[in-house]
């Protein structure tokens, strides 16, 4: 049954994953779900299609290997778990068993960024860098919980693998009205239009970016917020257009290492295309193993919280 959501409402991305997979399980009898003991969201799928649900327990490597084996045989496997472990402990399986033969395995997980207060063992902060370097991998990071379902649906026809990164996914802000933006893998979303500076971001920090833009608007500064939710393939045309339309001023904000994630992807496009910028600043996690704290506290502590974002935008527009 279609459910409508409104902007600002809190919704669980995990429940969207669960209901989307359950829905797709009906139309795709070759859809499988594999998890290393992260099953709470998947109960609906498990109960409806128990013979296409595999919980391997604490065993990330084999969860990805099994997915590859299933995909070799014509199935569409989804591996769902915690990203620090899927992206690192099972990295070689993702690279060699999935990406090398270009199999349609979907890796969907939570704990992307300094979220969940689990400490550095449980924060995936290098994952986008690792995943973007894998040939054949499509890499996404999604903040809007409703969009998660749409991306999973679209990915059903993909011939190769996709990585879908979420934050904690228990309580996420609905960012977009249904149908407000065209959601297409490989295309960024202009979440808020503006003409003085572009703020690129993805995932959990899109909400923070929109709030920062609101603050700047009070000073009469027009901030464009781009939700660059597909990091690979990157929307190079949009980046080029934003440079031309927002005075060549770029700020990149992300809940990932400041080097290796979206900022690096944007900088690569800037360098490769010879785009002349007025200013470029990146806000993200420095080279530290962050400690404990709530998400917002950690972002503030490590220099990419709301006030830092506002300050960076002010610096950008002050650059002639």
């Amino acid at each position: 049954m279609p459910v409508t959501f409104t902007f600002g409402e809190m919704l669980s991305a995990r429940s969207v994953i669960g209901s989307t997979l359950a829905e797709l399980g009906e139309t795709h009898d070759n859809l499988w779900v594999i998890t290393p003991d992260i099953g709470a969201t998947l109960v609906e799928f498990r109960d409806r299609y128990p013979d296409r649900f595999v919980d391997v327990g604490l065993a990330e490597q084999v969860s990805v290997g099994i997915a590859a084996g299933l995909a070799y045989d014509g199935n569409i496997p989804v591996v769902s778990g915690m990203l620090p472990f899927l992206s690192m402990r099972a990295l070689e399986q993702v690279r060699t068993d999935v990406c090398y033969p270009n199999l349609p395995v979907k890796i969907i997980g939570t704990h992307g960024g300094l979220v969940g207060n689990g400490g550095s063992t449980h924060y995936a902060v290098e994952d986008l860098s690792l995943m973007c370097s894998l040939t054949n991998m499509t890499v996404t990071s999604i903040g809007d919980p409703v969009m998660v379902g749409e991306v999973i649906r679209q990915s059903m026809d993909m011939p190769g693998p996709i990585y879908i990164r979420l934050a904690v996914g228990k309580k996420d802000m609905v960012l977009y009205e249904p149908g407000q933006h065209e959601v297409r893998i490989g295309k960024g979303i202009v979440a808020r239009n503006g003409s003085d500076v572009t703020l690129f971001t993805h995932g959990t920090t899109v909400a923070q970016a929109l709030t920062a833009a609101e603050h700047l608007a009070e000073d009469g500064v027009s901030v464009r917020v781009v939700d660059m939710w597909t990091l690979k393939p990157i929307d190079a045309e949009l980046i080029e257009r934003c440079a031309a339309e927002t005075g060549g001023r770029f700020v990149v904000l992300e809940d990932h290492l400041a080097y290796g994630g979206l900022a690096t992807r944007v900088a690569d496009v800037v360098a490769d295309r010879g785009i002349a910028l007025t200013s470029f600043e990146r806000l993200g996690i420095p080279q530290v193993y962050a400690g404990f704290g709530e998400d917002e506290q950690l972002r503030d502590k490590h220099g990419y919280g709301l006030s830092h974002t506002v300050d960076a935008l002010r610096r950008a527009v002050a650059t002639a």
């Binding site: 499988w32 490597q61 990805v64 290997g65 099994i66 070799y72 045989d73 060699t96 068993d97």
Partner: protein, 291 residues
């Protein structure tokens, strides 16, 4: 339930299989003498009998119909024995041996050091990094069972490879998922690349490790074709719910006296003189066995 007709060819006798295994070793040495780079000859020779038994008798496959859903799947987990598999498959009609010899390891050849499914259809999985084959086989076996098919998924691992933790994750998964259609052959040649296995890793009591993981264990001499055939014939019904491991005691370098149990021959290349010596030794080993 898929009921697709599979033309698996005639069933070879033990004596015929022994002839094929000898021929496989001869063709392997010939390639090794032709190719300038190193070939993993030690571990190729230790699996020559196992691969012969599988490709010429154990596996229900049809080289003219490589995508038939009813076919048995074979995953070479010890991907460095690729060339031995290519030749065994060529002898079964999948590939052309002369083409393998002419192009092996060359730029743009599909016949590389480790098998690539994308470049070489007929091969079931891209492997090479150790400890990956059994997890893939578990996935394939789950898929086959789910579709109500009766084929088996067979993988071949080296014993040294089973030092990889992912093997044991898969051993638990295969048992937990009750995959009677899953079979692992282990080339127990007791050598790693640089050492004799037990000097470095305490594998023993090796069969007990598999029993402890709940697997059905068959122990055989991996160079005795009669025992290989009997083990294949003794595999449980694929619809049953316990996976099987066939632990094959083997000799790395088997058939060539100066390579057998010799750490220097994990991989190597053969000059003209070495090739002659190797072929002579292979001939002699056959004559000895015939007596």
């Amino acid at each position: 339930m898929t009921q697709t007709v599979l033309d698996t060819g005639p069933e070879l006798s033990v004596a015929e299989l022994e002839d094929r295994a000898f021929e496989l070793r001869r063709l392997l040495l010939n390639l090794c003498g032709t190719y300038e780079g190193a070939v993993h000859i030690g571990g190729d020779l230790s699996v020559a009998d196992i691969l012969t038994a599988l490709f010429h008798r154990g596996l229900r496959i049809d080289p003219k119909d490589i995508r038939n859903p009813a076919r048995d799947r074979f995953v070479l987990s010890k991907g460095h024995a690729a060339v031995c598999m290519y030749i065994a498959m060529a002898m079964r009609g999948f590939f052309d041996y002369d083409e393998i010899v002419a192009t092996y390891g060359q730029l743009d050849s599909a016949y590389g050091m480790h098998p690539c499914k994308v470049q070489l259809p007929g091969v079931e999985a891209s492997t090479g990094s150790l400890g990956h084959g059994l997890p893939l086989a578990v996935g394939m076996a789950l898929s086959g069972r789910h579709r109500g098919e009766t084929h088996r998924v067979v993988t071949l691992m080296g014993d040294g490879e089973t030092g990889e933790g992912s093997v044991w994750e898969a051993a638990m998964a295969g048992r937990s998922q009750r995959l009677g259609n899953l079979v692992a052959f282990i080339d127990r040649n007791r050598q790693l690349m640089t050492s004799f296995a037990e000097e470095r890793v305490m594998f023993e009591p090796y069969p007990d490790k598999w029993r402890a993981f709940g697997w059905n264990v068959i122990e055989i001499d991996g160079h005795d074709m009669r025992q290989l055939v009997d083990a294949i014939d003794a595999l449980p019904d694929p619809a049953s719910d316990v996976p099987t491991v066939v632990i094959c005691e083997t000799v790395k370098g088997k058939g060539v006296d100066f390579m057998e149990r010799n750490l220097a021959w994990h991989a190597g290349s053969l000059g003209a003189e070495d090739l002659e010596r190797a072929m002579a030794s292979l001939e002699a080993s056959r004559t000895k066995e015939a007596r």
